[in-house]
Symmetry: C2
Subunit: 413 residues, 2 copies
């Protein structure tokens, strides 16, 4: 055991402790600001329901902003993943305010989008500015970006471990780079603390601890695996539909700002029609993040097609170019789909909602481990093995592709 | 989304559900039997302390057994890892009784060895018998072996998720093969259930839930990282010392059974001398698994050199050829080292003992994720981020090599 190698490791430790702490302060503060802005935007939209009529204009504004300022960062999460695999040029700082404003505008006027994309991109863009300050080398840059992704994810959802593992797991389908564990872990852990330090909390979905699955264990496990398969196929259908709609729009409409404009028109018309038909169909629940309906999914039976409504609204929003991310809508789709499957599979609502919450996302993003750990952080450690099984099954059925096109693939899956 | 691909996936699901269940029944039952045998052997040795005088003969017997029946399986865990990377021939079934008997004999007469090697090798050997029964192809064989490792590890420690991740993580240093997640996860989860179904339980180390770290968070995190570095260096020293002693013995003593004989003589003489000097030094605590002292490490301050005693006895036992495994002694070394560091770092005993428990092993085995999840399964989810940080730091300082020589390495670490 040579002393020089230990001294080198200590220098590495000091360097990455400093860099990861800086990444955490930047990304955690950005997430805190973003979460507060989202809360305000959501409260506003829920108070003034007519704002959805302006969604086409909001879409045009978002598309126009990206056309003027963001052509090189349009790819969002995929651009970050590409930069980590093959570092070329520093992510421009303006990506952070650009994605922040676009997401808040998207939510304010009722697009059905998420928030992890925004947090991850702000984390990545802010982290990458350290490249200038410290004149980082190529390999260090890719580690800083990974730490930024981990920090953004951890702080926006309040799940430090899941955030760290997400940053390690999202780069590849089917394998994982563990060497970056220290920077990612420290950045995730601290970023979550920074967000909490700003006084920003996270939703608690469970009203009581999750119980064990119902019935004999082998039958419960069969039910969980079956649900996992359905969750995985749903995640796959979501990724396919979103990419498909985006490609279809691009092929037909050359002027980018028109695409989210048309998406906004479609959503507003749909909301209007549903309102005119009246009564049964409460479509406002499908706008924005949908935290409220998600909480319901853990407690009471919902309409069996509730997940499908969110699916359509989200594909319509993201596929036409609104900004924010896929994850929170996937949580919604999973939780409500789990809610719908619970009576069929004779399992408790809360358990199936919790499993769907993480497993649809695990399938769509090819990140079964991060999602398993996320389930333990959000719903308690007892769910660990069940979540792992559901996420593994979902991952198996989610197909070769996913929501992040830039993920590298092994030859064998 | 083509129907044929989904049908193929369903067939894959059915096949691996069946195979993983069979692996789980075999490995879980073997672990249950093994744990009961270990309990009996430990109780016996603690009642009849003179049995340690027979340790040289026990060592000779173990060495002779392997010389007659086990030359091709001598490499133990490393042989399994090699077979997964490069499948050649089926692991002989006799490995299971061979490692079982050798381990129980080693424990009965007081060698300081573990139990994960035995559980993992029984799991692997039993699982590999399915290769004949189902005429599995090469790739399937390597999956079955991974499932066997996961099942053995999960059932012997009662930590299903950590077992599953261990099976995925142990093959490589620095990356992880996630494709096998479903078979490994199902086998681990069910094997743990099978062991419990046989009425075999596991030690609970905590008497009360772990609290938060003491003092301001940033100072506590510095303390945890510093402890992680020490844990990693200790794991590294352990791997180096064990391999070094084994190589040294092999170069000097050609007749294999003589090596554990000499190791047994050394240990017995040491125990005798310590008894003659009397009073202070209670060396019987270093024999066998050492569950009792480990439980103490979570509750009361111990002698600062307690970890060193276990270190010496274990290197002396494993390096000369006793059988069992490294993990439980590494738990002991880590927990008591954490106990010794706690007052220096001004942190609670239980927290530092829990972190040392997993982090020395994480460093020595290059499995930081499995160890993080193990900490959550054994000590509660709150420890997750701290365990992750300690394991990541330990992993960073554990060097290029580890207790499992057959692990493949990436070029860059």
């Amino acid at each position: 055991m040579e002393a020089t190698s230990i001294i080198n490791q200590l220098r590495y430790l000091a360097k990455w402790s400093l860099l990861a702490s800086l990444v955490a302060v930047l990304a955690g503060s950005a997430s805190a600001f973003f979460l507060v802005a989202l809360d305000v935007a959501t409260a506003w939209r829920e108070s003034y329901r007519w704002m959805v009529w302006l969604l086409p204009l909001a879409g045009f504004a978002v598309g126009w902003l990206y056309l003027q300022l963001g052509r090189e960062v349009e790819a969002g999460n995929n651009m970050l993943i590409d930069e980590i695999h093959d570092p070329k040029k520093v992510v421009p700082l303006r990506l952070a305010p650009l994605i922040l404003c676009s997401t808040v505008v998207s939510h304010l006027f009722g697009a059905s989008v998420g928030r992890e994309g925004t947090a991850v991109q702000m984390g990545g863009a802010l982290a990458d500015q350290l490249t200038h300050v410290f004149r980082l080398r190529r390999e260090d840059r890719s580690l800083v970006l990974m730490a930024g992704i981990s920090a953004g994810f951890a702080s926006v959802f309040g799940t430090p471990l899941a955030g760290a593992i997400f940053g390690l797991e999202v780069l590849f389908v089917g394998r994982m780079r563990i060497t970056a564990i220290y920077p990612c872990m420290l950045a995730a852990l601290l970023a979550d603390q920074v967000t909490r330090w700003w006084g920003v909390g996270h939703t608690h979905f469970l009203s009581a601890p999750l119980g064990a699955p119902a019935g004999p264990l082998w039958l419960a496990l069969c039910a969980i695996v079956a649900a996992g398969v359905v969750f995985g196929l749903t995640g796959r259908a979501f990724a396919t539909a979103t990419h498909g709609l985006a490609a279809w729009m691009k092929a037909r409409i050359a002027y980018a700002p028109l695409r989210p404009f048309i998406g906004g028109v479609a959503i507003a018309v749909f909301v209007g029609l549903a309102g005119a038909v009246g009564g049964g169909l409460e479509v406002h629940r499908y706008l924005g993040l949908g935290i409220g309906p998600m909480v319901e999914a853990f407690r009471v039976p919902l309409d069996w097609w509730d997940w499908l409504g969110k699916f359509v609204f989200t594909v319509g929003s993201l596929g036409t170019g609104f900004k924010g991310g896929e994850v929170t809508p996937l949580f919604y789709i999973g939780a409500t789909l789990g809610n719908a499957l619970a009576p069929l599979l004779q399992q408790p609502f809360a358990l199936l909602a919790a499993l769907g919450f993480v497993a649809v996302f695990a399938g769509a993003a090819n990140t079964p481990l991060a999602c398993t750990v996320m389930a333990m952080e959000m719903f308690g450690p007892e769910i660990g093995p069940y979540a792992a099984l559901a996420c593994a099954a979902a991952y198996m059925f989610s197909g070769q592709s996913g929501i992040y096109r830039a993920q590298r693939r092994d030859a064998a899956r």
